[in-house]
């Protein structure tokens, strides 16, 4: 584990192992709350906070917990942090809390969090676990915000409406509107829009992935092959 490179962790979290677009974890909040960009951002930040804290805690107690009981322990850790986050949002972002509603407590059941606790944090040191939690959380947040923006633009013709729920009254005029004549596609706001939008985002990511590596890693892989052949 000492060889863990933080750059790789961050790249995995944000792109190549993005929890929403590649691992397809946490789809319930992903699909349910992303009808506006701000909702997505709010839930994404809450999830990131829980992910960082739970990863850190799981990493700290990883030598104390017996493998037989690790899952209940992880769940208790995650549930404690979710409760903390929920109470904080209730206190400081009450309007956003009302909009997100049940989906904040439901962060407990977000498979991305327990997945990272099980797959990464329980096997690594504190600092890599925190970086991993942060990167995975940010990747999830980016996916939520992208999907939320897409659905909000198509469905309502606005972007960042109700930003004041999150950033206070100063943000009340941040809304970007496509004009009053824009007739929104209601379907984008409804659940099918979430599924279609997510599918299109995954398709887009796959297209980008298949176009990108053509230039760079092609020589890299051949050189690796040469090295392996040489050592063999």
């Amino acid at each position: 584990m000492s060889t863990t490179s933080y750059g790789k962790l961050i790249k995995e979290g944000l792109w190549s192992n993005n929890q929403a677009l590649v691992a397809l974890l946490g789809l319930c909040p992903l699909l349910a709350v992303t009808n506006t960009a701000i909702n997505g951002l709010g839930l994404g930040i809450a999830t990131t906070a829980v992910l960082v804290m739970s990863n850190a805690t799981v990493s700290l107690i990883r030598n104390l917990v017996r493998p037989e009981v690790r899952l209940p322990v992880f769940v208790i850790v995650i549930a404690s942090f979710v409760t903390a986050v929920e109470l904080s949002m209730n206190a400081w972002f009450f309007d956003l809390y009302k909009v997100l509603g049940i989906f904040i407590p439901l962060i407990v059941t977000n498979c991305a969090i327990i997945g990272r606790a099980e797959a990464f944090a329980s096997k690594s040191h504190l600092f890599p676990a925190i970086v991993d939690g942060l990167a995975m959380g940010l990747g999830f947040t980016c996916a939520l915000v992208a999907l939320g923006s897409m659905r909000e633009l198509l469905g309502l013709g606005t972007l960042f409406s109700q930003a004041d729920l999150m950033f206070g009254p100063i943000a009340s005029d941040w809304t970007i509107s496509l004009g009053d004549n824009f007739k929104g596609m209601l379907l984008a706001i409804l659940p099918p829009g979430a599924f279609l939008g997510l599918g299109l985002m995954i398709a887009l990511k796959n297209i980008i992935d298949s176009r990108l590596p053509k230039k760079k890693p092609a020589p890299a892989t051949t050189s690796e092959g040469d090295l392996e052949a040489g050592t063999a």
Partner: protein
């Protein structure tokens, strides 16, 4: 008597995709012409616009998939999708809705799943549902049939309305458009009116709305032609119409003033068009004969249920899409027994 004995396969000529599609388009024409007659030039403009969009979308997706363009565009399946869509949507639908609908149908519903033969859903109906859910107001503003229309629009005026949204002088949307007969029937039933009271309106003919019932007849003729040419088999249309009719008559028998009579369901809305042209889509429907009976009967059931207790004006599109989803399962449970294998002993 001398029987001709021919060994299998018994197909009398190569039944190519484009020939089948052309036959279906041909069978659609009488109904489509009747719709143009009763509902004006808007239908024709929608047909042309939808076909052009469909061809462009097919070309784009073939280009993206790096396949040859001409054979796919030349098989007429996209044009058939476009025509079915155009006769299902209101005559004065704004042009950008037609473009969005067809682009969705061809790019997402058809080509993204692998093109003709791989799409699990009927593209025309998926597009119709997309638009109906997204733009309910535009999608339910129908024109009155020709005999009730006091202000018929000329070709140029229809084009102006579709492409620019400007209505001819002195007219408003409310004066120009009305709900479909099916829509107005169930809206008024929801307001606790009686069937006989609703049917007093001059909108109604013998079975369904005036004009609509005749359009239905012409579609029926086209559908019978398709059965005669063996492009479709009788199983799906007959089981669909029969189950819808039986259910409707049963409920009508129980309460004559709360449930419209059986033929009403057959001759309003898209029932006949759906039964012969949409539910029989060979790609998304069931394949086995027994399965087709189950499939058609279930569509009839869903049409009745959604029309009677649902909130949307017509149910054929929803019913077909729902049963498209169930088609592989139905096929799985109705596989015919291979001769010499298994069996009921």
């Amino acid at each position: 008597m001398q029987f001709t004995t021919i060994s299998s396969p018994h197909s009398d000529r190569p039944n190519s995709v484009s020939r089948t599609m052309l036959l279906v388009i041909l069978a659609l024409l009488p109904g489509a012409a009747a719709m143009i007659w009763y509902f004006g030039w808007g239908i024709l403009i929608n047909m042309l616009l939808a076909s052009a969009t469909a061809i462009v979308c097919e070309a784009i997706s073939m280009r993206l998939r790096k396949r040859p363009i001409l054979p796919v565009v030349g098989d007429f399946s996209a044009i058939l999708t476009a025509l079915l869509f155009a006769v299902a949507v209101p005559p004065l639908l704004p042009w950008w809705l037609t473009v969005i609908g067809i682009a969705f149908a061809i790019l997402l519903v058809k080509q993204m799943y692998g093109g003709l033969g791989y799409n699990p859903f009927n593209p025309a109906m998926a597009a119709y549902v997309l638009l109906l859910v997204s733009y309910p107001v535009e999608m339910t503003s129908w024109l009155p049939p020709a005999m009730l229309n006091e202000t018929p629009l000329t070709l140029l005026q229809s084009a102006m309305v579709i492409f620019t949204g400007t209505l001819p002088g002195g007219l408003s949307w409310d004066a120009l458009t009305m709900a479909t007969p099916l829509d107005s029937m169930f809206t008024q039933l929801d307001q606790s009116k009686m069937v006989s009271e609703i049917m007093m309106n001059p909108l109604w003919g013998d079975f369904g709305g005036r004009g609509w019932e005749w359009v239905g007849n012409w579609y029926l003729l086209g559908g019978l032609f398709l059965i005669y040419k063996r492009v479709i088999s009788w199983h799906i249309p007959v089981s669909m119409l029969a189950s819808l009719l039986v259910l409707a008559m049963l409920f009508h028998f129980l309460d004559q003033e709360a449930y419209p009579f059986g033929m009403f369901h057959i001759f309003t809305g898209g029932t006949i068009l759906g039964a012969f042209f949409i539910a029989t889509d060979p790609v998304s429907a069931c394949t086995t004969k027994k399965g087709q009976l189950v499939y058609g009967a279930s569509i009839g059931l869903m049409v009745f249920v959604i029309r009677t207790w649902g909130g949307y004006p017509d149910a054929v599109a929803f019913a077909v899409l729902l049963l498209n989803m169930a088609a592989p399962t139905i096929d799985y449970y109705t596989q015919p027994r291979t001769f010499g294998h298994g069996g009921t002993s």
